[in-house]
């Protein structure tokens, strides 16, 4: 296990280092698909410079990162190393995480369980999916701070799965502090931790509420500490509107791979607030139905939530996508139930190639326009949604087979098929 992992790491680091040195890194770090106004390294540098000059980095409309990040970079300017460390760390932690997670399944029915051997390779596959994913490589070479967010979320997942309530709450609050949206991950975290401690999910039970209060206290407490820490470091509350206001009210309509920019660029100003609310509630809303449906499977719920966040968040980049894509090998036992995987992967592939082409035609050649680019963005997101819903369907289908047996018979004895209507 260690040898392939080391090899993988070496390959990943080499690819990044090579790209880093090449002239491409400049180009990549300017791509709108890879960096968003929130995560662009260029803006971090600007913020640092302002901080050095003794000016609040949030004056002006350039810097939107959280204060702790900027202080972090203040001390650790060699970012490449940070990102490498982060990916390495994540890799190792992931490994442990899935080694742990592997214990959960063997209760399942015979044909559908995964052999221990397959389980054994899952952490490696996850590491490979994350580290060699071109999206991750791009976002690392662009020095996007997205890698940092991903690392925090990965740490959160790890600590949750290990059952460490305090660490889980702390990392969740850090992730929320970075970019609000991971807030929705508290539902799966709670479900998982309760499952581990054999607390039934029952609204009438005091132990259930007691656990929720405990977790909420830890979460809010650490969030409070972080926010106050930022306040004391900066000496002002400037960063609140500049970071969270920026995320929630979407003033920057630079094209990206998300759904917000075109919609809000085209909209009449007096509808803006309404649709802003609709769009933002949309991100959070899926938590409720999904956690009701996937009450028993919090790990899958985490995957779904991450996917939903990365599709519907206000400034998505390819780095966010790579985070939930890293989970795909975990669900390799679902592959036989996937229906559209070929179609979806073709579309994703084609869209990723078409993004720069249509950008070129729109911005440089001037012969196409924003509609071309947005069409591809839409297609890309539709493909992602199809991918996620396909996995969801496959998961439910597998559950169905686990309860009713793999070979369904009709009443007359012929073979039955399941139809989703």
């Amino acid at each position: 296990m260690a040898a392939p992992l080391t090899l993988l790491l070496l390959v990943a680091v080499t690819v990044r280092a090579a790209l880093f040195r090449s002239s491409l890194s400049e180009l990549i770090s300017e791509r709108v698909e890879v960096v968003s106004p929130l995560t662009a390294w260029k803006r971090v540098i600007e913020g640092l410079a302002l901080l050095d000059l003794g000016v609040s980095p949030y004056s002006g409309d350039v810097f939107h990162e959280t204060p702790l990040t900027i202080y972090l970079f203040h001390f650790l300017v060699d970012y490449a190393e940070v990102t490498f460390m982060v990916s390495v760390k994540k890799n190792v932690f992931r490994k442990q995480k899935f080694a742990l997670e592997a214990d959960r399944y063997p209760l399942d029915c015979l044909e559908l369980i995964r052999s221990p051997k397959e389980m054994y390779y899952i952490p490696l596959k996850v590491a490979m999916f994350y580290l060699l994913n071109p999206f991750t490589i791009l976002s690392c070479v662009a020095k996007s701070t997205c890698g940092l967010n991903n690392a925090i979320i990965a740490l959160f997942i790890l600590s949750t799965i290990k059952g460490n309530v305090l660490l889980s709450a702390i990392f969740l609050s850090l992730a929320t502090y970075q970019s609000i949206y991971p807030l929705t991950l508290c539902a799966p975290a709670l479900l998982y931790l309760m499952q581990r401690q054999y607390i039934p999910v029952n609204f009438r039970r005091a132990s259930f509420w007691w656990f929720i209060v405990q977790y909420a206290f830890m979460y809010l407490g650490s969030l409070f500490v972080i926010i106050c820490l930022s306040f004391f470091l900066l000496g002002s509350w400037d960063y609140l509107p500049s970071v969270y206001g920026f995320i929630l009210s979407v003033p920057d309509l630079t094209p990206n791979i998300g759904l917000f920019w075109y919609f809000f660029a085209e909209m009449f100003e007096h509808f803006r607030l309404f649709f802003l609310c609709v769009f933002q509630i949309n991100v959070f809303f899926y938590t409720i139905p999904l956690s009701i449906k996937l009450k028993e499977h919090p790990v899958f719920l985490i995957f779904m939530q991450l996917a939903v966040i990365s599709i519907f968040k206000s400034y998505p980049t390819v780095g966010d996508i790579s985070l939930y894509m890293a989970f795909l090998p975990v669900w390799s036992h679902l592959h036989r139930f996937l229906r559209n995987i070929f179609l979806v992967s073709c579309v994703l592939l084609a869209c990723s190639a078409l993004f720069p082409v249509l950008w070129h035609l729109w911005i440089y050649a001037g012969s196409a326009n924003s509609n071309f680019y947005y069409a591809i963005t839409l297609l890309f997101n539709v493909a992602q949604i199809l991918l996620v819903s396909d996995y969801f369907y496959a998961f439910l289908r597998r559950e169905h087979h686990l309860t009713y047996g793999l070979y369904l018979k009709r009443k007359d004895g012929s073979e039955a098929t399941l139809v989703l209507k």
């Binding site: 051997k117 397959e118 559209n340 070129h360 012969s367 793999l406 399941l418 989703l420």
Partner: protein
Amino acid sequence: MGLLSDPNRRRALISLLTRLNTPICIVCYMAGVAWFMGLAFEPFTLRTYMSENAMGSTMVEERFPAGERALATGREFSAHKKRTGGMPVEWLMKTMQAKGLEVFTQRFSRTLPFPDENKERYMVRGTNVYGILRAPRAPRTEALVLSAPCSPGDNNNQAVGLLLGLAEYFRNQIYWAKDIIFLVNEHDLIGMQAWLEGYHHTNTTGMDWSPLQGRGGSIQAALSLELSSDIITSLDLVLEGLNGQLPNLDLANLFYAFCQKIGVLCTIQGKLQRNDWDSVSGYSHAVQTMMLMVMKQASGRPWGDHGLFLRYHIEAATIKGVNSFRQYKTDATTIGRLLEGMYRKLNNLLERLHQSYFFYLMPSLSHFVSIGYYMPAFGLLAVILLLRALDLWVQLSTPPQRTEDGVTDIEPVRGTHFKTVADLLSLLTPLVISHLTGVALYMLPIRFQEMAVEHFPVSETEAVVLTAIAVYTAGLALPHNTHRLLSGEGTEQGWRVLKLVAVLYLAVLLGCTALINFSLGFILALTLVPVAAFVTPHVPKVLSAFILVILSPACTLLFSVFFFQELQEMPISFQDGWLLFLSVISQGILDHSLYGSLVYPLITLLVYPCWLLFWNILFWN
């Protein structure tokens, strides 16, 4: 969503698609070609019309009187050009100043990567001279350009003369709202490149030039003028620019409208328009015109000095005077009036030309085919690739006892992990090796020229071209056995996976190419799609290898050279064709390093490796 979720319907559709795969592919191919040929048929095309309001409804009256004097200036210019043996900078500056322009010069120098044998140049050094007529009626935020190249020999003197004549006349008019820049550029495109880079403060190709001293506003449109005789019979409009980019169709409409108004014969691709579209000869005439445009666009090189403007988002075209032996004659005064009219209309523009089409093909000057009409032709070809990919996917994902829905599947046994690793390696090896060959093809020709010249009796240019051909051929011999080094015998599964990857790769590649340069994408699709569709390790080797070579990118280029000559009604012998082919390769490499044309890197770094993958599949065992 019924199709996506109902397994029965899905199964029916997929079995239909896999069972009828080959017939559907053949039908799609024929339909694609037929659709493309149908584009030139006049009832299927649209008439051109002026979309831009600012240029459409306003009337202008052309009064340019001084054609004869312009020609006299041209003769004077020619005399000075002969005396100085190049660009008569001093004389031009003095003349332009006398006409009341602000005159500036720009020096530039450029060493080509290897000597250009067509134009006989290697170390290029020259000067651009340009004069700015400041707009009297508006803040000088926008500009128009009229340029004429100062060519060696006796060419183009009339164009410079007419340019100076127009400058003098324009100077005395009061209605200009945009600066007009009169540019005489030396060494045609190289000078133009230096001037444009200087004007926009960019340096994309590593050329040496002195910064511009004077500047107008942002350039809205440009025309380049080429006239080589006192009296011409027709005017030819050249639209194709760098990387197959075209100017807004309104510029062509403007030219056509004025030719109609003033009564000048106008052509596109050197072909007059004919009215007998319903006869066979009329249709074939339209096809010829359109094919010429397709070939020129596919070459990705600028076909006139205007070609480089397009990169800076400036609509531009070249107007060429043609003197053939027709009865109908036009003098310089008429051409001057035509240009005056066009500039006055351009002067009326309120914003950049954007109303009309940017993606079009023209079977004649008065008709065009827009992107919505020609893309289906390409789409029909691309669908073949997707169908093949689907077929392969179904084959790969259904081992014998498996139905599509996956329920009756037998769980893959343990050990699959190692098998997939072997599969992965046998997939990666050809991919990496063919791309390395592509990189070698891209890098080596220019790097190795000195060595080649030392060791072989060839000139530098020949060295470059022959190295390119040698690397290309070596690529055929090299990689087709390599996957065995790592993974032993190639498996049935192995080539299917490789072919699936190659087919999808080709589909994405061609799709992106067709969006940027439709003609190139279509020609490549025409030759590469059949290859991609039929190649398996089980077809007869020798015959298929022959077909594969015939349809490879280099042979496509060779055929295109002959076909192009045929279309221009200048058929050539095989010997000349071969020489032309070699010079086309060297021109392609030069275009890439001088102007940043993307065709050469596209072919060497992406298309050729992709083709090599299919070559690999043929020799899989």
